[in-house]
């Protein structure tokens, strides 16, 4: 019972945090928030975490761009092939 209640409360907390995060327009999803919360609970500095998140995003953007380039190349290639 107690465990369940705790779990419920934790879940509730996370959802509210998600809402706050949405209000602040952070672009974080619930799972990420869950991980971040546990990291913070472990005593990791939030500013360091912010750095990490940003780095990850940067990396992610790069990947997406690369993929886009690849896609356009792919798009062009079949055309040329067709020609």
């Amino acid at each position: 019972m107690n465990e369940d209640l705790k779990k419920q409360e934790a879940e509730h907390t996370i959802t509210i945090l998600k809402e706050i995060s949405d209000l602040l327009n952070t672009g974080l999803d619930q799972e990420t928030i869950r991980i971040l919360v546990s990291l913070i609970e472990q005593g990791v500095n939030p500013e360091a975490l912010a750095l990490i998140v940003k780095e990850i995003r940067k990396e992610g953007e790069q990947i997406i761009e690369e993929r886009k380039r690849n896609e356009t190349q792919l798009l062009f290639q079949p055309d040329q092939e067709r020609k």
Partner: protein, 993 residues
């Protein structure tokens, strides 16, 4: 610990993996790279730059949200924060940290390329007129801050590079510092319409920043305003001393301002060099707060490359957060400038208020500001007041000590009039300019100051008091007052008691050696008291050092005032005494007044009698044949003959005769009057106007006296004639009537004269003497004298038609004067008549003598002669005499009754007149006569009216002439009866008298 590290690394891995999964399946390489970066970041000992507690966090959220979203979301967010807190499963500090994390992440700026495309996209939209706003999440902040279309801005703003430059806080700070010195900047312009400095509207700056900048810029505006005022004043050649002092005191206050600006300036400089140094050192030890409201533009200006770098570092969130000075921010400047703003606002208001004022009026305005509630401003104002009032005090002190009016710019409240004659020197030479009396000075003090200076000048110019002697006197007074002053004013302040005291001591030591003796005379004053006060003061200072200092600063002015007041009180007492002493003792004011009382106001009866007696012959001639020099000799003999001979030679010399402008009908009596000449200082009190009043009184008294004189002359004639006519019993009733009439006249004249001379003149004179002896200053002596004169004029009913008295009074005066003239005419007439009669009688007498002579020879003829003479000639004579007597009697009676009427009217307001009326009719003779006549008149009237009525009636009811005739006869009979009665009773009364 290792367990913890493990969980952390596990979690980080999870985070990295999970996050990267969203971008598709991550390569192992990137994962590893990110993971190692993350571990590094976590293990570096970063600490939060701000203290993470609830209010701080909420504040951060609020700021963040208020920039972008509505108020609603702020409330929502705080609500949610509270909810989580309430659940309590998450520790509070963890919650705070996670919110802080969100805060940082939400502040993510858009990445460059994406941003650029965004803006260019918008351009196109504007150009094509499409108003749809496609704001991406990342640049929402920017959009919120936009106030005007970028296109407009690009077109107008030539100062800037075509691509919008970034405006950093640092730039604004630099700009603001220029503005504070009254110089327009690139971004902050002076708007001539609204007269304010304001940020160019075209710049895209958030409202809060704009507000802040404008607020600071206000100070710049105020500064330029004050500066303008000062420059304007400096240009003026004829700037008053007080205003000049005021300007300089403001300049002193401005020094604070310049100091503050230079502090700002150096702060900016320091900060810039610090930035440079930090850059050189790797830019690690730099703290940059994001200037969140800075508009972000991009610029290609090579010069601002460095600026750009800083901007970049600002633009990205504070990744490097380290300790160090933050440099001047707008807020800081505003904070430091705020007290200056309030202070300078007041000064600006002051300069505005003073613009059209001059001299003392300026001080009044400043004094109004001194009672400001803000102690800071109050102390500043009292500083300004102290400095500005110095010239006034200097002028005042010179004025009250030396009588010198050193006021080239008409600032002092004492005004000297040019070309004032000596006789009106006291009254008109100096005046108080009401406007220039500063508000902190009561009008009494101002008047006293004026009087002191005036007294000094009066003594100098009018009383020909030796300059040195005067100085000597004043300095002795000054010395005393200095001592009293020292007793009040603390020793610390003595240095500011400018020139005057050093001046005094210089005077004492160099010029006036006897003064030093005086100093030795009072060892108690010069040695004993001051040290005593010093110790007291020291004690006070020891116990309350701060209070003492602040009190000294603030009360400088007040103690100055107090000192001046004390000096003024002392000096005014001394000066008044001095002036009175000189006027009374040296110039013998009272002696002159007594002389006037004696000669002009008939104090010396014998002198007047002699004068009238000896002048009579000359004055009876027509006015245009009379010459002053003839009369002067007579005057002199009159003086010599009478008791006036005992008077001082000087006073006798001042006696003069004044002849009025003669008209053709006037006799010498009409134009003659005595005059008394007064010299320079005395004519301050006995002014020309006063002398005119004296002249008027003299004329009145002279006529009165003349009437009396004539009457007594007639008495003499009557005495002679009574013995002469004893042989003519036929003429006796007429003579008797003559005597009665004469007695009546004498009765009237005596009482009127008694009233005027004794009840009016003498009483008022006693009163005046008392007042003059008690008078504290010259002004009250003058006032007493004026009152004395007015009283006399008023009571003897000679008041002119001045504004003081109503017309009735004037009428009384006029009529009573006319009446006197009438009376005089009467008397003259009578005397003429008597003279005529006398000559006739003499003729008769001669004839009679002849006849007597004849009788000697023929005694039988006597009776025949007598009868013969008496029958035709005396008949005629008696008849004419009767006629004359009738007309005189009627004239006198009418005039007398008129006078009585006026008296009874006037009596109610002047109780003193009651005695006169009583005395004039002490045995109710006139009253009874009046009653009788009234009764007679009434009866006559009723008879007449009844006769008319009956006539009317008879005409109506009983027509017939008999009745009418009867009634008419009745009436005439009755009338006759009354007349008989009247004459009978009159005769009986006459005989009684």
């Amino acid at each position: 610990m290792s367990n913890k590290a493990e969980t952390i690394s596990k979690l980080i891995y999870k985070l990295v993996r999970y996050s990267m999964m969203r971008f598709g399946k991550p390569e192992q390489k990137t994962l590893q790279k990110l993971f190692s970066f993350s571990i590094q970041a976590c293990s570096s000992n970063l600490t939060s730059t701000i203290e993470l507690n609830e209010p701080n966090i909420l504040d951060l959220i609020k700021k963040k949200l208020s920039q972008s979203n509505s108020q609603q979301s702020v409330i929502e967010a705080t609500d949610k924060y509270r909810k989580v807190k309430k659940i309590g499963i998450l520790p509070l500090n963890s919650l705070n940290e996670i919110i802080y994390l969100f805060h940082i992440l939400s502040g993510l700026p858009p990445e460059k390329p994406k941003y650029l495309t965004e803006t260019s996209k918008r351009y196109q939209q504007k150009d094509t007129g499409i108003q749809t706003q496609t704001y991406s999440n990342t640049n929402e902040n920017f959009d919120q801050n936009k106030t005007e279309p970028i296109k407009d801005k690009n077109m107008k703003n030539g100062d800037f590079i075509e691509n919008q430059p970034k405006i950093t806080e640092n730039m604004l700070v630099k700009e603001i510092i220029f503005v504070l010195q009254g110089i327009e900047g690139k971004m902050i312009h002076f708007d001539h319409e609204t007269q304010t400095f304001s940020l160019s509207k075209r710049l895209e700056i958030s409202r809060t920043t704009r507000h802040l900048v404008n607020k600071i810029a206000e100070l710049g505006w105020i500064y330029t305003k004050i500066k303008k005022y000062l420059e304007e004043r400096e240009k003026q050649n004829e700037l008053g001393l007080i205003e000049r002092a005021f300007c300089s005191s403001i300049k002193d206050e401005m020094n604070d301002y310049y100091q503050q600006i230079s502090v700002f300036d150096s702060q900016v400089l320091d900060f810039n060099t610090q930035i440079k140094n930090n850059e050189i050192n790797g830019g690690e030890n730099l703290v940059l707060y994001p200037f969140t409201s800075t508009a972000i533009f991009y610029q290609k200006d090579a010069k601002n490359e460095q600026e750009k770098d800083i901007q970049n570092s600002i633009a990205s969130p504070p990744m490097v957060v380290l300790q160090g000075d933050t440099g001047p921010t707008l807020r800081r400047i505003y904070h430091q400038a705020r007290p200056l703003i309030s202070k300078f606002k007041v000064i600006a208001a002051l300069t505005d208020a003073i613009k059209d004022q001059n001299g003392g009026a300026i001080l009044s305005v400043i004094y109004n500001f001194v009672s400001h509630g803000d102690p800071e401003i109050k102390s500043m104002m009292s500083r300004i007041l102290t400095k500005s009032s110095k010239p006034l005090f200097r002028i005042a002190k010179k004025w009250i000590t030396l009588g010198r009016l050193d006021d080239p710019f008409n600032e002092f409240f004492v005004q000297a009039n040019e070309n004032v004659q000596k006789d009106v020197f006291w009254r008109q030479k100096y005046q108080i300019r009401d406007k220039m009396v500063p508000k902190f000075m009561s009008i009494e003090i101002a008047t006293k100051i004026m009087v002191i200076g005036k007294s000094i000048n009066f003594l100098k110019h009018c009383c020909r008091i030796d300059q040195k002697q005067l100085k000597h006197e004043i300095i002795s007074q000054r010395y005393q007052s200095e001592n009293t002053k020292n007793a009040i004013v603390p020793l610390q302040n003595t240095e500011r008691q400018f020139s005057i005291f050093t001046e005094i001591s210089e005077h004492m030591h160099n010029e006036h050696k006897p003064q030093i003796q005086f100093l030795h005379h009072n060892p108690k004053v010069s040695q004993g008291e001051i040290p005593e006060h010093k110790t007291e003061r020291d004690f006070f200072l020891e116990t309350n050092p701060i209070e003492a200092r602040s009190e000294m600063e603030l009360s400088q002015f007040y103690s100055e005032m107090e000192a001046l007041e004390n000096l003024v009180q002392k000096l005014s007492k001394k000066m008044n005494k001095e002036v009175l002493k000189i006027i009374f003792r040296d110039f013998k004011l009272l002696d002159h007044c007594t002389a006037i009382q004696n000669f002009i106001l008939f104090g010396r009866g014998d002198f007047i009698f002699y004068l009238m007696d000896s002048l009579g012959e000359d004055l009876s001639r027509p006015a245009n044949t009379i010459f002053k020099h003839n009369l002067l000799g007579i005057l002199d003999t009159a003086v010599r003959q009478s008791s006036a001979n005992d008077e001082d030679e000087d006073i006798i010399r001042r006696l003069d005769i004044k002849l009025l402008e003669p008209t053709s009908k006037d006799s010498g009596w009409d134009i003659f009057s005595l005059d008394y000449k007064v010299g320079s200082p005395i004519n301050t009190i006995l002014t020309q106007n006063a002398m005119k009043s004296y002249l008027k009184i003299f004329n009145f008294l002279w006529r009165l006296k003349r009437a009396e004189f004539c009457l007594s002359e007639t008495w003499r004639w009557h005495m002679v004639s009574s013995s002469l006519f004893s042989h003519f019993p036929g003429i006796f009733p007429q003579l008797h009537r003559c005597y009665l009439l004469r007695n009546e006249m004498i009765h009237f004249i005596y009482h009127l004269q008694h009233y005027v001379l004794f009840e009016v003149l003498q009483c008022s004179w006693e009163h005046f003497l008392e007042e003059a002896k008690q008078a504290p200053d010259l002004d009250s002596v003058i006032a007493a004298h004026e009152e004395y004169l007015n009283e006399i004029l008023d009571k003897s009913m000679l008041t002119p038609s001045s504004e003081l008295h109503e017309t009735a009074l004037e009428e009384i005066g006029k009529i009573s004067r006319n009446r006197i003239i009438d009376n005089q005419n009467l008397n003259e007439w009578e005397t003429h008549r008597k003279l005529e009669r006398q000559t006739q009688k003499l003729e008769k007498l001669q004839k009679m003598k002849k006849s007597k002579k004849i009788r000697f020879f023929s005694p039988q003829q006597d009776s025949i002669e007598k009868q013969g003479v008496s029958t035709p000639r005396t008949e005629k004579l008696v008849k004419s005499l009767n006629e004359q007597l009738d007309s005189i009697e009627i004239e006198f009676q009418l005039a007398f009754e008129g006078f009585q009427d006026l008296l009874s009217q006037y009596e109610s307001s002047r109780p003193i007149l009651r005695f006169l009326t009583y005395r004039l009719d002490f045995n109710e003779f006139y009253e009874k006569r009046m009653a009788r006549e009234m009764k007679a008149a009434r009866i006559a009237h009723t008879i007449q009216s009844t006769a008319k009525k009956s006539q009317h009636r008879t005409q109506k009811s009983y027509p017939g002439k008999k009745l009418v005739f009867h009634s008419a006869k009745d009436q005439s009979n009755k009338n006759d009866d009354f007349q008989n009665n009247l004459s009978d009773s009159l005769e009986s009364f006459d005989s009684d008298n």
